[in-house]
Symmetry: C2
Subunit: 189 residues, 2 copies
């Protein structure tokens, strides 16, 4: 019947995701996406429609493969202080061990939030949704600890988490220190 597909969709989208992640949506050019995916411009256009559409695929990939695995343990029923500590120590280990290039990527969604002028309402909602997702996860866990100030603590923790990802773009070592501090802080609760 026909020639078989020669490239893997997941591999290509993941490669594109990493470029968007490192460089942001606007500054990423089609040429860089071509180089990263190994696909020609024609193939990219035919397969994904447009740069913007490819970014949507990349963001979905990011949520599925990066965010959800990290946040998953916090969502589990019965998750409490230990899971929260493990969350931050996990990030500390990541910022300590990961190659500089990787550690400096920060958060794909937060990075593009600063690009916001170039993006559209859909992208803005994506970023806001991510922030609320993190907040709700923290709030649920803090709720189980029975603290009266759970709501406030969750707000501050969410902000710290955002600050953590931004800091990692400037200084991965400082981000590792910060993640450690956050884990220690949670221990004192």
């Amino acid at each position: 019947m026909a020639r078989t597909k020669e490239f893997d969709d997941l591999t290509a989208v993941t490669a594109a995701r990493d470029v968007f992640w490192e460089r942001g949506y606007g500054p990423t050019s089609l040429a860089q996406l071509m180089a990263a995916t190994g696909l020609s411009k024609s193939s990219l256009y035919e397969t994904y429609g447009s740069k913007r559409d490819l970014f949507t695929r990349a963001a979905e990939n990011y949520l599925d493969l990066i965010i959800n695995p990290r946040l998953g343990p916090l969502d589990a029923p019965g998750a409490g202080r230990d899971e929260l500590i493990a969350y931050f120590t996990g990030l500390e280990a990541f910022f300590t061990k990961a190659p500089d290039r990787i550690a400096r990527r920060g958060c794909l969604l937060l990075n593009t939030a600063m690009d916001l002028n170039d993006l559209d309402d859909e992208a803005a909602m994506l970023v806001s949704g991510y922030r609320e997702r993190v907040f709700e996860a923290f709030r649920a866990v803090l709720g189980t600890l029975g603290r009266a100030d759970a709501e406030r603590r969750a707000q501050i923790l969410t902000a710290s988490q955002i600050g953590l990802m931004v800091t990692s773009r400037l200084d991965p070592a400082a981000a590792a220190q910060l993640a450690h501090a956050l884990a220690e802080d949670v221990r004192t609760w």
Copy 2:
């Protein structure tokens, strides 16, 4: 002798600063800088050299007129808990009262930090320097409170402050809430 200068340097740089602030360095075009400053492309080029040089001037303006006035009270000898609370309640008031356009600007330096690929080492150091400036101010104040965990608290507070500015770009109302929460948190120390 000669014709007198017809525009005010401070006014022009401040106008350019606001454009960079709202849109980021990369996405800001010369046309937008011309519109904001009221200067022609020729005048901009002759006076400031290049877009990049103008950004440096804008960043200096930002530090002098925006950052230092806010952080000043924290630097004053004898500054303590009250000044810290006032700092965050001041931000809360700003995010509550300021027009949406203004409240959503976030922090000029943090915004450009996400643009980092487009920028150079000088810009990266500018942003890192800003972060350390905030951290040192917090650390000094927390030191006077005689807490054993002053260093850790300052790290977390710095991250929260960064998260606060990023949040303001997504949702000024949430930023106001967060600033309030931070002030309340400091009160409990």
